[in-house]
Each structure stands twice: as C-alpha cells, then as structure tokens.
Symmetry: C2
Subunit: 404 residues, 2 copies
C-alpha cells in the first residue's frame, strides 16, 4: 500500500542525507560520550532565557486556573500581545504600526506558511538569495509555489540585486530575504536593501500599469528572527518602511531562547493599499492551517518580555573565538556580522567530504548544500565556548587531509 503521497515520500528521502548527518552525530555521541563531540550542527539557542521568564511564568501559573484562563484567543492573537507587539515593531522598524497590522504566529515558520497560503497559487515563484534556510522550499511548496534561489554576492553574502532583477518573472510573487542571515551571518546593508525595495516598487508599478486592479503584487518578505543578533555596532536596517509591499516577520525563539514554545509575528506595511485584506487573510489561514492561534502561554509570556533578550555578549564571544579557531586552521570564511552562524568554505571544495572529515575528528557541521550552496559548511555557535576551543584540533586535523 502507498500510505503517503509520492511528493511527501520524495521529501522524506530528499531530507535523508542531512538526517544521516544528525544520526551520525547521535551515534558518535553514544560511542564517545556527548562531551567528546563538538556539535555545531544544530541551531537550537542554548543560552538560558532571561531570568524574568521564571517570574512571568509564575504569574501565569497563578492566573491559569480560572474560566478561560488558558482558553482560545482570537486567531490573530491576544489583544494585549498584539498591542505590545505593535509598539515593539514600531520602534524596531522606525514606522508607526497598529495592532491591527500584526498577526501573532506559531513562530517564524508559522508566519511564513500562513503568508504563503494567503498569496501563493500553484506555479507562483518565491525568489530568495542563496544560501538560504532550506525549509523555505517546503513552506511555499505546500501550495504549489516554487522556490528559485539566486546566488549571493561573494564574499559579502549580500543579495546580488542585478541577478535577482533578472530572475523575476510575471510569476514571481515573493522576494524573500533573511537578515541577519542563516546560514551566513550576513547583515544586509541599507544600500542593497533600498535597491531591492526599489526593484519591488518598479515591478509593481509595471504590473499595475499592465493589469490594473487584476495585477498581483511582488512582496518583499523579510524573515527577521535574528534581528537582535548584530555585532561590532553594525545596525540592522529597518525594512518595513522601504516599500509599501514589505511584510516583516520574526520570532522570539532566539532572542528569548524560547524556540520550543513557538511564538512569532508577521506585520504588513500599514501603507500597503488595501493591506487589511492581506492581514485578515493571514489571520484566516492561521486558523484554517490548524495553528488556530499562537500558544497562549507563550503569548502571555512574550507580551511581558519584549524589552528583554538573552545575553548577546555570550554569542559575540563565541563568534570571536570561532573566528580564531577557523583562522588558525587555515579555513577561509567571511566574518559574520550577525546571527550565530559561520559559513566557511570547505577546504578541498566538497562540503560533504569535509563534513565527513570533521566527523572523524568528532566535529559536527552541516554541508552547505543543505542551504542551497555546495562547497561551504555551516557551523552553528549555539554551544559553549569550551566546545569551540576544544574543536580547534579537530578542525586543524580535518584541514590537513585536504592539503596537497
């Protein structure tokens, strides 16, 4: 019997090589002990949540056992949380946003899928710079959308605006960017972002001139779960005001180390003509996709914590240490300005081979092809400094194998 669809079967086998890496990691940990393995493969934020999380959770506990204490809430989120989010986003994006412009989501992933459901028809294209978070393809693919990636400029890993302009077709519905970036750590400059926004405006003007009210817009969709993670004083530019067709989404998974509770948001530029329809559509798809509403304990929690973040200095120290380790090993890389990833070149040029060589030294990494860019590897610094230090010998030995 064919229990599942052929498309899902294919997704499962397509993912299996990356799963193999994880399984290999688990095997190595079981064999040599978790402490012996330097695991840079996972993006699970390990810095403890802010201390205030405990206080707020105790308050929630005190108020939970009453009628509707943990009951359904409006699909777009608790009014108190939407209000708090609106002022949080207004500050962050240098643009006045109202609660009605914001939908609380089940993490950034839930926001992306709800948005794609609202705007993507079968055959529509989503363009994003490579490398990219590989789940983007699945997120739009559920509804017949097709992800088209465009190689980023090197060595900055900023989007290549000309190449993106050439890739846009009448079917392109979304230009999806992610800054600070997973997996490269790049923070896109305001110059590049303005050019992307101008490109979006130009495309939309042409479409409107041609098809009038029937024109379907190109959205600039900005995925920003790492916005708070910027180092060396680099500023993360506000993207929402850059074009009326900007939509921004984010989550508290990383800033509050709250990844398991799945709390995020999505906001449309309040000046988008008729934009309420889009926000209402995302509210509807949030419901009909089975999210229903973002988890209500997490919403109550995040509403009280919007001014807090985990200790970001911890991530900065790790970044500097990892840079040292890679430099000493002779591995080529672009210093990340944000997030907590490195995306160095694979010595020898083959990412799988280098990841395998690292595994032999009990160092775990993800091949760049898992992010649409072979020839590189991704390292996640969501581990203790001690582990980064300890990995130095492993990196050096692995590199040796590729010297001629």
């Amino acid at each position: 019997m064919q229990l599942i669809t052929s498309q899902i079967k294919q997704s499962m086998s397509g993912a299996s090589w990356i799963r193999k890496m994880f399984e290999k990691g688990a095997e190595l940990k079981a064999k040599y002990g978790a402490d012996a393995v330097c695991d840079f493969s996972l993006g699970n934020p390990d810095v403890p949540p802010p201390a205030k999380v405990a206080d707020v959770l105790h308050d929630i506990a005190d108020n939970a056992v009453r009628p509707l204490g943990l009951g359904y809430c409006p699909n777009a989120g608790l009014p108190v949380f939407r209000e708090a989010l609106a002022s949080y986003i207004s500050k962050q994006q240098n643009m006045k946003v109202a609660p009605k412009d914001v939908v609380c989501s089940v993490g950034a992933a839930g926001a992306l899928v709800s948005f794609f459901r609202a705007v993507i028809e079968a055959g529509d294209e989503v363009i994003c710079p490579a490398p990219y978070f590989v789940e983007y393809g699945s997120y739009c693919g559920h509804f017949g959308g097709v992800l088209k990636s465009v190689p980023s400029s090197l060595p900055s890993f900023e989007p290549d605006v000309e190449a993106i302009a050439s890739a846009i077709t009448p079917k392109t519905r979304v230009l999806l960017i992610n800054s600070p970036n997973n997996p490269t750590g790049a923070i896109y400059s305001i110059e590049v972002l303005k050019r992307l926004a101008a490109l979006v405006d130009e495309v939309n003007s042409k479409r409107e001139a041609q098809d009038g009210e029937n024109a379907r817009p190109l959205y600039l969709l900005s995925d920003e779960p790492y916005r708070a993670f910027a180092y060396d004083g680099v500023e993360v530019p506000a993207i929402l005001p850059l074009t009326k067709f900007a939509v921004v989404l984010g989550s508290f998974s990383k800033t509050l180390s709250l990844a398991g509770e799945r709390i995020g948001y999505i906001v449309a530029n309040p000046e988008m003509p008729g934009g309420d329809l889009l926000v209402n559509a995302v509210t509807l798809t949030t419901r009909t996709l089975g999210f229903v509403n973002a988890p209500v304990i997490g919403q109550q929690l995040a509403a009280k914590l919007l001014d807090e973040t985990v200790d970001l200095d911890v991530y900065d120290r790790r970044r500097k240490l990892m840079a040292e380790v890679l430099t000493n090993a002779g591995i080529e890389f672009t210093m990340p300005k944000g997030a907590f990833y490195f995306f160095p070149k694979a010595p020898g040029g083959d990412d799988i081979e280098f990841v395998n060589a690292l595994q032999e030294e009990l160092v775990l990494a993800v091949p760049g092809r898992g992010f649409g860019m072979p020839g590189y590897i991704r390292l996640s610094c969501s581990v203790d400094e001690k582990i980064i230090e300890r990995s130095a010998a492993g990196f050096a030995k692995a590199v040796e194998k590729f010297k001629q």
Copy 2:
C-alpha cells in the same frame, strides 16, 4: 492589486455570514451588556482547568531558566510526553501503542492538517457524516482534497453506513468521523463503528487485490477531542483497534480547558502494515507546515496531567438544564450523549431565520448550515447554568414567532 489568492478571497467571503453572527453578538453585548446576552455560539471550554495545572506550571517556571529549558524539541514531541501519551492512549483505546506510534500535535486541528498533508493528493476525497465541523473542508482543501459529506441517520445522528458505502469512490482517501460529535453530541455505537471499520477493510482489500503495492489505502480517521465527555454511563468505544488503517487524534483543549495552548496528538494503529512510514511522514509535515513541534510548555504541562480532567459534572448539569429549556420551549431535539452541544431542529425550518429570531431575544446560536446541515441550530453549553436558565424566556418567545 490582488493581494491574496482568489481561493482565499472566496474562503473569506464564504465565512462572512457566520462571522456576521459573531459580529452581531458582539454588537448586542456592547449595546445591552455582556450579562444580558445568552451566548451559545462559541465552543470555548469555560470550566476552569484542573487545580494541578497551577502546580505544574510553577514547576515549569522553576526549571525554565536554564540552557534549552524552553528550546526546540524533536518534531514528534518531547520523549517524556510521547511515552506518557503512549500509555494514556493504550488504556483509552484498549490496544498497546508505543511512543513511536504517536506524534504530538498543535491541537487536533494541527494533527488533521499534518495528516492530510501526508496522504492527500489533489482531487482526493475525504468523506464525513453531516453535520460536521466545518473547518474539515479547509483542512483538506489546502492540498486539493475535497470534502464530501453524507447525511447522518436521523434522529440518532449516527453515520449512515450504507450511504457512506455508496459515496466511496477510488479517489476516497479518508473516512473522517468525530465521536462524541460536534455539533450533535452523538456518540457512535460500537455496532455502527464496526460496520464502518469493516467497510474500510473491504475497500482496502479490493484496492490491494486490484493495484497491489501501488494501491492507496482508505483510512478511518477518528477525531476525538471530546472522548472524555460522555454522560449517562454511555461508553465511547475504542476505535483504533477496529481496523489496521485506523488513525486516531485528540487534544487536551476540552478535557483540560487548555484550548489556547494547542496540545494534541495523533496515533496510527501499530498493526498498520508499514505504518512507521505514515508516522514519520506526519512528523515531517508537522515540521514543514511550520508547526515544528507542539508548544513545549504545553507539552510539559499536559505530560503531568493525563490522569486529570475538568469537572465533567458541570457539563452534565448544563446538558440536563438545556434539555429542560428546549423541551419547555417546544423545540425538537435529540438528547446529546456526549460533548457539550445540542443540535435541535429550527422551528419553522429555516436555521438562519430562527437564529435571527433568537438574536432578537438576545440568545446567540449558530445556524446548522455552518455545519453542513441547514434546518438545525447548534447550541454550545460552554456557559454558566444561570445563563441557560435565563435563556428560557428567549427560546420560548422566539419559538412563538414560528407558530402558525
């Protein structure tokens, strides 16, 4: 500009008449005061969660501020919760289930959507008895599935097995049932369930005989969020063991009054040939649909509360009181055996007209056509007994208008 797809636009306008009912309700509450309005339109469980919820939440608060305290967990759920669920389900379904057979989901809705994504191809059919929870159509429709409803037997509201048998085509992928039922309160008898299971087995045998390994099975999918809500000693039969192709899902939204936190599960009959593939596929779609994992605070909470329920006697008392009110008003209904809904006939025959007449008396109900069955109304008893008492005059007056 066409900001959203035409399909979603249609969903939004299709839903608007039921939204109008809610808006009307809000308007009436604003005008006459919330206390003056008897609102039977919402299914939001209002009985307080068990007292233990507070204790467990305090424990969670004490343990949250540590590395990964609220971090990502495996897509299928926390191992400790899957284990607890496996023994909970084993008891409930009279069948030994292992943790690997269970996936934790974002409520029952998340389980349904993840399951449909794994098994539905465009054009596939989902058959369910009418009346039914109207979101089922959206849930399978995201992936091109088509909901076909088959009128239930009257006045029992049990599935009409012959009619269902006639409705099955080679494209039928899922037979979806819901007992105790929303909106009727019916509990399906073991006799009817066995006949449905035999029908599923018969269809699958034929398909396998015809197409061998390429055959696509017909699943018996049982949506059971109201399993604990059974009255007068009526037993809710175990459905999982009835056919190898049974899949059961449930949630803690109603049993623990935890609807906002979105915690549910889905489990496949462990004897399904190759069933691990289905469970792994649902784990994958849980991830790629953006659920990622069920909210981790809710998982930790529910894991400690599987032996608890809200005070079910409260619901039983309301049921008896509502039956009295309806009887006195001369409204025809089938006494619900479970859940917390009534699905009486609309005096006069037009559900919208009767709902409007009730509104004039400040009594809010949902027209039966919102559940695929015009001519009836749904009343939700998730309100205090006082409100049910107070509604008696309103029901009586509304009925008067339809007497000739």
